[in-house]
Symmetry: D2
Subunit: 378 residues, 4 copies
C-alpha cells in the first residue's frame, strides 16, 4: 500500500477540471486515511494530453490505459472523458482492481452500461469500488429532500416534474463538438442532462421508472465544424427531449431536457407531489428546498435553508447561510467515493443505477420511434 | 331594442358570482352603447334559485330555459352552470337569437361541444355571438405574450411547458361535489383546469395540438358524500393528469394538471421556448411577464411589468404598478363579448376553439387507454 | 332617513375613480343595511366637474361644499381631492353631521390635520364617522400580519424596515402636477407614499413613532409646466426621502420613500423583526406574507397565502389562491367605513391616527433642517 | 527569493479555514509565478494552535509574531485573528517587509486603523502590499455592478439601500464569544457586518460617506459564558444598528445591520438608484444582478446572470450558469492580493479604504450618543 491515494484522471475537458479541483479540496474537509494525489492525466494524443496536464497542474501523463494500469501505482481511475471511452477504460481498470469513478451517463448505449455494470459486480467481490458521477445527488438540498421522502413527509408520491434547461445551443452558429456526435456522446440533451433528472427523480422517489413515452428532436440539424474551415457537419443527437415516465409504484413523471432554451444557462428543477406534502428544488437556488405540508398549514411553502448544523454537509463547510455551489457537489461526490473505498459503504449511485438510467434513455428513444409506451426492462 | 342590455346568468356557484361582478363592473371601465343589467338568474330548483338570486342581488329568477327565452327581453345568456347543462341551455338560446357566453370547457364531451359549435356557426349568420369563457386569455400578460409571439419575438416555437396545479382535493376527507362526477363534469382536473392550459398554449402559440399522449389518474377513488350522511361515493373523474402534445408546426408541449398538489392553491405556469427567445408566465405573479431574448443579452430574463400605458388594458384601469387580479380577467372577458355583440369583432375564443380543446381532452383520455399517440382530429 | 346611503365624492383624479369603483362593488360582497349610491360629484370648475362626472357615471354635480351640505340628502362625503382641500371640505361637512372619508395624508400640514382631528372628535359625540383613507391597512396580508404581531408571534419588536418606491418621476421631462406643488400637496414622496409606510408601520407594530431623523431631497428642481407652453416651473416638494424613526417601546425603523426609483412602479415593502420571529410583506406579491419563526424551524421563511377561508376577507371573495389586488383594498376600506357608520365600530384609521402620521412627517422635515432627532409630539 | 510563496495565517476560527482553502485553491485557477504554500499557523496558546494547525493541515506553528518574522521565510502574513490582534500583528510585519492581508474591519478602533494605514503607506514605498479582506468586493455581481456604475449606466446616484441581516444571535441562550466583547471586536453587528455594507456601498458608488446619523442597540444585554459554568457575562457590543449616510456627492444611503433578525442566516442586500437606472443585489442569489434602465424599457428589472464568458471571473471557473459561492470570493481576494504582490497593481481595498470604513463606524457610534449627524472626517 502506497502512502498516498493516487488518482488518475481520464479526459481533459470541463469535467476533468472540476474533478481535479474536487480531489484536491476534499481532504481538507473530509477525513481521509491517507493523502490524496491527482497523479496522472490519461489522454489519447500525447501533446494535447501534456498541455492539458500542465494546465491542470498534473505532473504525469499517460496515453494508454493498459500502460496506466501496468504502472501499478494508481488506486483510482476517474473517467471524465467522452462517453465512447467509458467502457473501454472502465473494464480493464476494474479487472486490474483499480477503483473507478465514471462520469455520467456511463457509456453511450445500453450495451456499454450493461457491460460496465457487470464488470462492477465482479469487481465488488474483490472490494473494488465502481461509482457513477451523478453529482446532483450530492447537492445538500437533494440529500435533505431524499431524507424527507424516505421518512414519509410526503406520504406516497403522486407525481414528479423534472426539467433541465440550458441555452448553450440556442445560437445555430455555435460549432460542433463531441457532445453533438452520436458515436461519441450516445445522446444529446437527453443523455447529457436528461440523465441527471432521471437519476435524481429515481433517487428521490426511491423507485425505478418502468415505462416511458417521449420524443426527441433536433432544431438545428447541422452546425459549423469545430475546425473553422467554413464547412458544416450534421448534428447526430437531439437538442431537446420531453417524456412521461411511470414509476414502479404508480406515480408518473413529466420531464423535459433542452439545450436550446433561451434564458436558462443551467436550470434544474425537480418538484415532487405526494399525498401528504410536496417539495420543490431549483438548482438556481441550490441552497434552498421548498416544502409544503398539508394539515397544519395548508397551501403554503416553507423555504428550508439546507446549510448549517443539522443539515447534510452542514458541519463540513461554513456556517448556515453562506451557501455552497456547483463545485462543492463534486467534492461531496469524491468524498462519498473515498468513503466506499475506505469503509465499504454501499456505493450510490452504482453502475447498476447508472445502467438503469441508460435503460430509461433507451426506452425514451425507442418510444420516439414507436409512438407508444416502452418498458425500461432490458 | 330595449334601452338596456339584459343578461341572464345560469348557475349559482362561484362562476355565477364572478360573472355577475364582471357584468356590473365592466360598463364603468369600458365603453358600452347601452346600460348593462344582470336581470335574471336561471336555475333548476325554484327555492335554491331564489336564495342564490338574493345573495347575488339579482331581481328575477327563472327555472326553465324555454320560459326564459319566451320572455323575449333577454339579450345575453351567460352560462355558469355545470358542464352537463351547457349544450341543453346553449342550443335553444342561440336558436332564439340570444347571445351566449358559456363557461369552459363547453359541455362534458366531444359530442356536446360539436353540437354547440355547429349551433354557433348557424347563429353567426344572424349576428348572434357565442363565446367560451376561457378567461385566462384575458390576463394582460397573456395578451402581451400573444403579441410578442405573433410579432416574431420568439422566432419559431420549439417547446411549451404548461402546469395547472391546485390543492383543494389533497385532503381525502373533502366531500364529493358535481365537479367529481363524470356525468356532470365530463372530466376532473383534466377538463376543469387542464382545458385552461390547453387553450392558453394553443392561443399563445397560434397553432392547434394535433396529437397527444398522456394519462389520467385518481388518487382518492371515493369520498364522503356531500350530504354528510356518513356514506361514501365513488369519484368518477381524474384528480391529476399529464400529457405531451404535438402542435401542428412540430413543436411539443409538456403539460400537467392536478387538484392534489400540496402547496399550490392555484398555480398556472406557462413557459414557451422559441428559436429566438423564451417567455414565462406564472399566475401567482399575474402582472409580470418574463422574457428572454438571445443576441444582445444572452442568458437573462427581463421582468416585464404589463400594467400601465402601452400594455393591454393599461389605460383602462389604474396606473402602472398597481396591478390587476383574477376577477379583472372576467371583466375583460365580458367586455370582449360585448364588443363582439356591438361591433361584430371576431369571437375569441369561439365555440369552435372550445370544441378543439374538447378534442384534445378526448384524445388524452383515449391515449390513456391505448398507450399511444392519438390524433385530435375528430 | 333616505332609503339609500348617498355618497358624494370630492375630486376627479385617480382616487375618485378608485373610490367610485369601491362604493359600487362593496354592497355586492359585504352586508349593508341600505343600498349605496354614488350620487354627487363635488368639484370646483363646473365644466370640468361635469365632464368628470360623465366619465365616472355620476349623475349629479356640485361645485360648492356649502351647497352640497345644504341639499340635506348626502350621508357621506368621500374626499379624493388634493390635500389643500381636505380641511376646507371636511370641517363644514362634519359640523353638518355628514360622515367623512378623507384620502391620506389628511391635509397638507400639521395645522390642517389637527383641526380635522378636533372636528372629528366633536363629531363622534353625535355618531358622525370620520376616517382616513389609508387603504393599505386593508390588504389581507397586512391584516394577517397585524393579528400575528398582536398575538405575540413575533415577540417584542426589534426593528422595522419600510420602503415605498415608485418610478413615475424618473424622467425629468415628466411635467408638473398638483402633487409637485407644496401649497397643494404639502409634501412630495414623503407625504404621498412615505405617509403610507409610516401608517402601516405604526399600525402593525401597535406603537407610535416618537422621534425621527431624516432628510428629503429633490433631484429635479424644475419641470415643464403642465400646460405645454414650453415653460418650466419650480418643483416645491421632495422626490425622495429617508429617515429613521424611534417607536415608543424602543424599536427603530429604517424608511425610504422615492418617486425617482427606476424599476419600481409601485413597490411597498415592510419587514418587521421581533425577538421571536420576523415577517416580510411586499405589495408586488400582495397575497403573500412571509413569516419566520425561531425555535422549531430556525432560519427559514414560510410563504403564507392569505387568501381563502380562515384568512382576512377569505370568505368574502374567491376561493384560496385566486388573489386580490389594489382595488379590492378600497372595497375593504369603504366596507369598514360603512361598518362604523352602521354599527359604531371603532374607526381605524381615525383622523387622530392620521394626525399622528402628519406629526411624523413634520418631524422628518424639521430634522432635515436641524440635523438632529426631532420629537413627533406636537 | 524562495522557490515558493510562503503564507502564514494568524488565527484559527472560521476565517482561517476559509482563507486556507482560498490560498490552496487559487493557484489552480489563477496564474501565479511561484507555488503557494500555507506554511505556518500563528496563534497564541501553543497547544490550541497545534490542534488548529492539525485540523487545517498546516505543518508548522508559531505563537509569537516576532519569532515568525525572524524566521525570514514568510512572504505573506494573512491575519484572520480577532480585531484586537490586527494592529499588533500588522505593524511589525509590514516593517519587516512582509506583505499583509488583514481581515475586516481592520483593528477595533479608529486609532488602530489609522496606525495600520500609516504603516501601510510607508510599506508601499518598499513594494510591500497591505490589503483589507473585504471579500464581498470580489463577488462577480459586485464587480459587474461596479463597472456598470463607473460606465454611467445608472447616471448619477440618488440613493443607496444596504442591509446585512443574520439570525445567529436571535436565541438569548447562544453563549458569549469574542465577537461580543468590545475590547476584542470593537463593535458588534455594526463592525462585523455593517462594515461590509459600508465598504460595498462606497466601493460601488465610488464616493466616501462623509456624514452619518444612526443608532446601535443590544437586545440581549447578557449571555451565558462560553465556559458553560452556568454564569452570565455582559455583552458589550451592539447586536443591531441602523444609520443614514451622506455620500460626498450628495446621495444618501439607508443602512441596517443585525444579528438578531429571524429568517435571515446571512442576507446581504444592496440596491442603488441613479438618475438613469437602478440595480439590486442580494447575496442569497449571488450569481445574479438585477438591473433596471429607463428609456427603452421603463419599469422593469432584467436578471443579469454574471457567470460565463464576458463577465468578471467568467473565464476563470465554470461555464455560464453553474455559479459560484461564498468561498470563491476569498479565492478572488487572495488572487487580487497576489496580483498586487507580483505586478504592483493598485491595492483594493487598501488599509486607507479600511480606515475610511472605521471612520464611518466611529461616526455612527458617536451619532448614537449625540443624536445628530457626525462627520466621518477624522
Amino acid at each position: 500500500m502506497s502512502d498516498s491515494i493516487r488518482v488518475a484522471i481520464a479526459g481533459h475537458g470541463l469535467m476533468a477540471r472540476v474533478h481535479a479541483h474536487a480531489w484536491r479540496t476534499m481532504p481538507y474537509f473530509f477525513q481521509v486515511g491517507r493523502p490524496v494525489e491527482v497523479a496522472v492525466l490519461l489522454g489519447t494524443d500525447p501533446e494535447r494530453t501534456q498541455r492539458a496536464a500542465d494546465s491542470l497542474h498534473i505532473r504525469q501523463t499517460e496515453t494508454d490505459v493498459q500502460r496506466l494500469i501496468a504502472r501499478g501505482d494508481i488506486d483510482i481511475l476517474d473517467i471524465c472523458a467522452p462517453g465512447d471511452a467509458h467502457a473501454r477504460l472502465t473494464i480493464p481498470a476494474l479487472e486490474a482492481r483499480v477503483h473507478v469513478l465514471c462520469e455520467k451517463p456511463v457509456g453511450t448505449s445500453l450495451e456499454d452500461s450493461r457491460r460496465m455494470a457487470d464488470a462492477a459486480s465482479k469487481a465488488t467481490a474483490h472490494g473494488v469500488v465502481a461509482m457513477a458521477g451523478y453529482n446532483l445527488r450530492h447537492v445538500p438540498a437533494i440529500q435533505e429532500a431524499r431524507a424527507l421522502i424516505r421518512d414519509g413527509a410526503l406520504g406516497s408520491v403522486i407525481s414528479i416534474r423534472g426539467q433541465y434547461l440550458q441555452d448553450w445551443l440556442t445560437d445555430p452558429a455555435t460549432p460542433m463538438s463531441w457532445r453533438l456526435r452520436k458515436e461519441r456522446a450516445g445522446y444529446g440533451a437527453l443523455g447529457d442532462i436528461g440523465s441527471h433528472i432521471i437519476d435524481l427523480a429515481q433517487y428521490l422517489v426511491g423507485e425505478d421508472i418502468v415505462e416511458t413515452i417521449g420524443y426527441t428532436r433536433t432544431e438545428w440539424a447541422q452546425r459549423p465544424t469545430d475546425s473553422s474551415d467554413g464547412g458544416h457537419e450534421a448534428v447526430t443527437v437531439d437538442d431537446s427531449a420531453a417524456w412521461l415516465g411511470r414509476f414502479s409504484q404508480g406515480s408518473v413523471g413529466t420531464f423535459e431536457a433542452s439545450r436550446v432554451s433561451h434564458g436558462h444557462h443551467n436550470q434544474v428543477r425537480i418538484e415532487i407531489d405526494g399525498t401528504r406534502g410536496a417539495l420543490a428544488f431549483d438548482f438556481e437556488r441550490m441552497n434552498e428546498l421548498l416544502v409544503a405540508q398539508g394539515g397544519r398549514e395548508p397551501g403554503t411553502f416553507r423555504k428550508l435553508d439546507v446549510t448549517g448544523t443539522g443539515h447534510p454537509y452542514g458541519d463540513v463547510w461554513w456556517p448556515a447561510g453562506l451557501g455552497l455551489a456547483y463545485d462543492h457537489t463534486f467534492v461531496h461526490l469524491v468524498a462519498a467515493f473515498i468513503d466506499c473505498v475506505e469503509t465499504g459503504t454501499r456505493v450510490s449511485p452504482s453502475f447498476r443505477d447508472a445502467h438503469q438510467v441508460q435503460s430509461v434513455l433507451a426506452s425514451i428513444e425507442s418510444s420516439t420511434r414507436t409512438g407508444r409506451w416502452v418498458s425500461t426492462a432490458s
